[in-house]
């Protein structure tokens, strides 16, 4: 790692620490009640103290999100490839997809609950519904914008359509795909928590709902912190995978093979 990168990371860490320090100092100096905005130190204390109780909820949110996200990736890739490789599919299916993605997902959760009852299924489905669209758009764009010259290279070798897709289309689309994964992962969390808040008896969303009705504001904030942390963790995970697989798209000197 270069000293430049090291310095950049140090600054990022410093910014986070400074943010929490400011928050703490502002709360203390303005004497804000912890019923309105608890101090970060309070939130962290609550988080650690209640961890045995919180842990099953964290796991619940995590696995429902991951399943929803996984299904979203599959659905997104399949639809994206279909739309990206076929001009007709692109023109006919896009309006429907955009219409679907424009529906606020809060409005869909009650329908899922009506169909499947309160529990993990609506959470999974909401996560899926939230996260597949960016994947579709990115894959379709990546495939549709593949340089015809690159495809010609394969076609002149007598490659089948599948060969072209596997050897040119998909690798060419990979940077778009990974960019969309990072967005989709955070969207999936939003979806899960949304469903959990509306109708569930488990999960971080549910914890935050019941905590806020008990005026246990530090616990509500603890839930928020946990969600933020999970989101960042997933983002980092996908960034690492991205660097591993599509390093060629980042032509920085330190990315050289």
């Amino acid at each position: 790692m270069s000293s430049y990168q090291l310095r950049r990371r140090a600054w990022a860490a410093a910014l986070i620490v400074a943010f929490f320090l400011m928050w703490e100092v502002l709360c203390l100096s303005l004497n804000i009640s912890d019923l309105i905005v608890p101090r970060p130190s309070q939130v962290f204390t609550v988080m650690v103290q209640r961890m045995p109780v919180l842990w099953p909820h964290i796991l619940q949110t995590l696995w429902t999100t991951m399943i929803g996200f996984g299904l979203g990736v599959i659905v997104g890739v399949v639809i994206g490839v279909l739309i990206g490789t076929s001009r007709i599919a692109y023109d006919t299916a896009y309006p429907l997809l955009i219409g679907f993605s424009s529906i606020p997902k809060v409005a869909v959760v009650p329908i899922f609950v009506l169909w499947f009852g309160a529990g993990p299924v609506p959470a999974i489905l909401t996560a899926l519904a939230m996260c597949f669209f960016p994947i579709v758009v990115n894959i379709a764009t990546g495939l549709a914008s593949t340089e015809p010259e690159l495809e010609d290279v394969l076609k002149s070798l007598g490659a089948s359509k599948l060969d072209v897709l596997v050897n040119v289309g998909l690798p060419r689309t990979a940077p778009f795909f990974f960019a969309s994964l990072k967005i989709a992962a955070t969207f999936a969390f939003v979806g899960t928590v949304l469903a959990e808040t509306v109708a569930s008896n488990k999960g971080i969303g549910n914890v935050m709902m019941s905590a806020s009705s008990n005026f246990d504001v530090p616990l509500v904030f603890a839930g928020l912190f946990i969600l933020a942390f999970l989101g960042v963790a997933l983002y980092v995970l996908f960034s690492l995978i991205e660097q591993r697989f599509v390093g060629w798209a980042n032509r920085r000197s330190d990315a050289a093979a």
Partner: protein
């Protein structure tokens, strides 16, 4: 397949092939009723003013384009049958940016029959050695594990030629592959190309703007008219092989060059009259 004696097929045969682009009614003709036969083992150079449909002929032979009217046969059969193993090098290097040079050059072995059948088994052994030997020939062995963006234009073009040749094509289609190179690299690659052609005798169609290049490499030169292209002249080139760069300064060679030049200039001025 059967016991009857095989016919002597032309490697590539165009029969009154026309190509036009765009919707019917407003179609723009690119190639006009062109007939052309290229024998097995011939090295044909196509020259002519820019935009005259030279590349269109290559794309027809490669099966990247279908004639609007007329027929195109490769190896005596329709293009789709892929009767001849095909290698193609474009004007732009078109290397895949996510693959190293080695893997780029290896690409045809992964795609083309019969090599793809053995690819999984041989990619680390025999095929890799073959790629390295080829890269060595063009002075790129040190760059096998580099990515295309780390190489200069001339190096990319050499890798591009390696990719077109690695699967020992029977028909080689070259679309100005030496165009963007400096004089000396170009002459070096002409020599390499000549050696290779003399060794394996593939059928070659070379599209070029460079008359010296055409005279140096080709066994026959076709001059095309301005758009929509037709073949207006067909001259064999009989200089002894191996030809040398020094030979390109001899009177016979210069005379050929000059004759071709005049034909192309005449073809160009026709367009000017059309336009006027």
């Amino acid at each position: 397949m059967d016991a009857t004696p095989r016919h002597q097929f032309d490697a590539v045969k165009l029969w009154e092939a026309s190509v036009s682009f765009g919707p019917p009614g407003r179609a723009v003709p690119a190639l006009q009723e062109t007939s052309l036969s290229i024998k097995q083992g011939e090295f044909l150079a196509l020259v002519g003013p820019s935009g005259c449909g030279k590349s269109t002929i290559l794309r027809l032979a490669a099966g990247l384009l279908e004639p609007t009217t007329g027929d195109v046969l490769v190896g005596g059969r329709e293009v789709k049958a892929k009767a001849l193993r095909l290698g193609m090098a474009f004007q732009n290097p078109t290397l895949l940016p996510w693959l190293t040079i080695e893997k780029n050059v290896m690409l045809p072995l992964r795609i083309v029959r019969p090599f793809r059948h053995d690819f999984r088994r041989k990619k680390r052994g025999e095929y890799r050695d073959r790629v390295h030997a080829m890269l060595d020939d063009v002075g790129l062995s040190k760059f096998a594990n580099h990515y295309p963006w780390q190489l200069s234009g001339g190096m990319l073009q050499r890798a591009n030629l390696c990719r077109a040749l690695i699967h020992e094509p029977q028909l080689l289609l070259l679309d100005e592959p030496f165009g963007a190179l400096d004089q000396f690299t170009r002459e070096e690659l002409w020599n390499a190309m000549q050696t290779l052609w003399m060794k394996r005798k593939p059928t070659v169609i070379l599209v070029t703007h460079d008359l010296k290049e055409a005279g140096f490499l080709a066994t026959r030169i076709c001059v095309m008219s301005a758009r929509p292209g037709r073949i207006i002249d067909n001259s064999p080139v009989d200089f002894a092989r191996p030809r040398t760069i020094a030979m390109t300064f001899e009177p016979d060679f210069v005379a050929l060059n000059q004759a071709l030049r005049e034909k192309i200039i005449a073809a160009r001025s026709q367009t000017a009259e059309h336009a006027a």
